[in-house]
């Protein structure tokens, strides 16, 4: 049970589906993230301080609460996306997920069995994956090779985007790489961005349903949230990689400071950020560690295979921005018919199981700070309620997860890594410095231009974690 609790805090739906989305998108970050899904628990099992002295720190409670708020918000935002993807109102997904998490965490008998939700949800997800693989008639390696050998990712005749049209859950911009006739299925206001000989012009397009426009290579089309469009069969999906080869080897030969900083940022954020989250509940026995790592490997393997089958069966998920929540629709697209819809429903339940297990794990972590004061339920209700309200507005779940992990890596991660006991004043100073550097990186990186600055803005733990670590090293007590 300790191993299941350990895994519940790490293997949330945003991490698992987010890794699948990165692999599906074909970026170089995908394989790195698969490795980090396993390296995070590995580092927490072996590194850092075993004693729980850090819990006396006055910085631990507010920072853990803030990280829990961000992690819950990420999960709820994902369910908002899933609801939008199936045509339901966003708030319905958020409220159902929050309601399930609250019910499970306040129902006393659930305390005995909720940790089993993690292996059960992963087992169900693997069974759905097996059904998708069976329907495709290809093993994962053959599916990967098939995707990698495609000359282009095109709309297929079975795609809903070429029949009745699809709905964009959030606003965005499409970039076209070949001539494409697009038909409006809703009376929205679109922007046609045309670049011609170095000049860029933006024209408003206010079509009636059924009206069409032809876009040329290089043209862009901006759309509002809820817009419906119909695309042409056989045309390249806007936003998809140029070819299967570009999808399979997107980063090979890539270099440059921006790419290197991004690599470091992801590794630092997820490895150091895993310490304060996982270390206090790490299994004390080798058998427990083996179970925890087996679950992490199972989740990483599922994300890989899911991404490959999604790229094979559902190239239209590349349309616009690849969103983790959209990937749950794969069974509907790969299997089709009522069985496809049923399998999608089963997968959504499994994803919900991972979320509520993670929420229950977070509640246990938060309850430690109450110290028998009887305010545990009020504290938990407040955090979950804030996350619910915040998630009613669309947010990118992956960005919230990176923010939470980065916050932990910049403040509590270095504290958990230090092997000697640290005075409370030093802990507060180091965490404060890490937090300040994290905020400077997040805000400054986004405000200034350049690839390196943008990457620092996306992974501000690159500044925060070293700042907190250096402060601890300089201020730690030295033996007389």
């Amino acid at each position: 049970m300790i191993a299941f609790r350990f895994a519940s805090l790490w293997l949330g739906p945003v991490l698992v589906l987010g890794v699948a989305a990165h692999l599906y998108a074909g970026g170089s970050a995908g394989p790195l993230l698969v490795l980090l899904v396993v390296l995070g628990p590995c580092a927490a099992l072996l590194g850092g301080r075993r004693e729980r002295a850090a819990e006396a720190s006055r910085v631990l409670a507010p920072l853990t609460l803030l990280a829990a708020l961000l992690l819950l918000s990420a999960g709820l935002a994902l369910f908002g996306d899933i609801a939008s993807g199936v045509g339901a109102p966003r708030w319905r997904g958020v409220v159902i997920a929050a309601g399930c998490a609250f019910a499970l965490t306040v129902w006393p008998p659930a305390g005995r069995w909720w940790p089993r939700l993690v292996p059960a949800a992963l087992l169900v997800a693997w069974l759905v994956l097996a059904a998708v693989a069976h329907a495709s008639g290809l093993g994962p390696m053959a599916a990967w090779a098939s995707v990698a050998s495609r000359s282009a990712f095109c709309f297929e005749t079975t795609s809903p985007w070429v029949r009745s049209g699809g709905t964009f859950p959030t606003a965005g911009v499409l970039t076209f790489s070949e001539p494409h006739r697009v038909q409006a299925a809703s009376p929205d206001v679109f922007g046609v961005i045309v670049s011609d000989g170095g000049t860029t012009s933006v024209e408003e397009w206010r079509p009636r349903p059924g009206a069409a426009i032809t876009l040329r290579p290089g043209d862009r089309l901006s759309y509002p949230a809820g817009a419906r469009l119909i695309f042409e069969t056989g045309r390249r999906v806007p936003g998809a990689p140029r070819s299967g080869a570009a999808w399979a080897d997107p980063a090979v030969g890539a270099s440059g400071a921006g790419e290197f900083v991004r690599f470091l940022g992801l590794a630092l954020t997820f490895v150091v950020g895993s310490f304060p989250l996982l270390r206090p509940g790490a299994p004390p026995t080798r058998a427990g560690a083996a179970v925890g790592l087996a679950l992490a490997l199972a989740a990483a393997g599922w994300a890989e295979a899911w991404a490959v089958y999604a790229a094979w069966a559902a190239p239209d998920l590349f349309l616009g921005t690849v969103r983790a929540g959209a990937l749950v629709a794969l069974p509907s697209l790969a299997v089709g018919g009522p069985w496809g819809r049923r399998l999608t429903g089963v997968l959504v339940v499994a994803v919900l199981g991972l979320f509520v297990a993670g929420a229950a794990g977070l509640r246990e972590r938060i309850a430690v700070f109450d110290r028998g004061g009887g305010h545990d339920l009020a504290l938990w209700s407040g955090v979950l309620g804030l996350a619910l309200v915040g998630s009613l507005w669309p947010h990118e779940p992956w960005a919230l997860l990176v923010l939470a992990q980065g916050l932990l890596a910049s403040t509590l991660g270095p504290l958990a890594l230090m092997s000697s006991a640290i005075p409370v004043r030093t802990q507060v100073m180091a965490s404060g410095l890490g937090l300040a550097a994290f905020a400077v990186g997040a805000l400054g990186g986004r405000a200034s231009g350049g690839a390196v600055a943008a990457t620092l803005g996306a992974y501000p733990a690159l500044l925060g974690a070293p700042a907190a670590w250096a402060a601890l090293r300089l201020a730690r007590p030295r033996p007389a």
């Binding site: 394989p31 790195l32 072996l46």
Partner: protein
């Protein structure tokens, strides 16, 4: 033990960085139809990391709960 694990972790990550940005497009080399980058990042390195963790895991730690 922490130092050895830290070194191994660094080497695993450096291996991936080498496949992504190293010379000769090593990451694009296909093995059994799948690129070396996917084999390493998606299978070999995670399994190695897990096995290494279990090998270095201190035996006989008393349960804390």
């Amino acid at each position: 033990m922490r130092r050895r694990f830290g070194l191994a972790l660094g080497l695993l990550l450096a291996g991936l960085a080498l496949l992504v940005a190293g010379p000769f497009d090593l990451g694009a080399v296909r093995v059994a139809g799948v690129s070396l980058l996917w084999w390493y990042g998606g299978a070999v390195a995670p399994v190695l990391a897990a096995l290494l963790t279990l090998a270095l895991f201190p035996s006989g730690r008393s349960p804390r709960r």
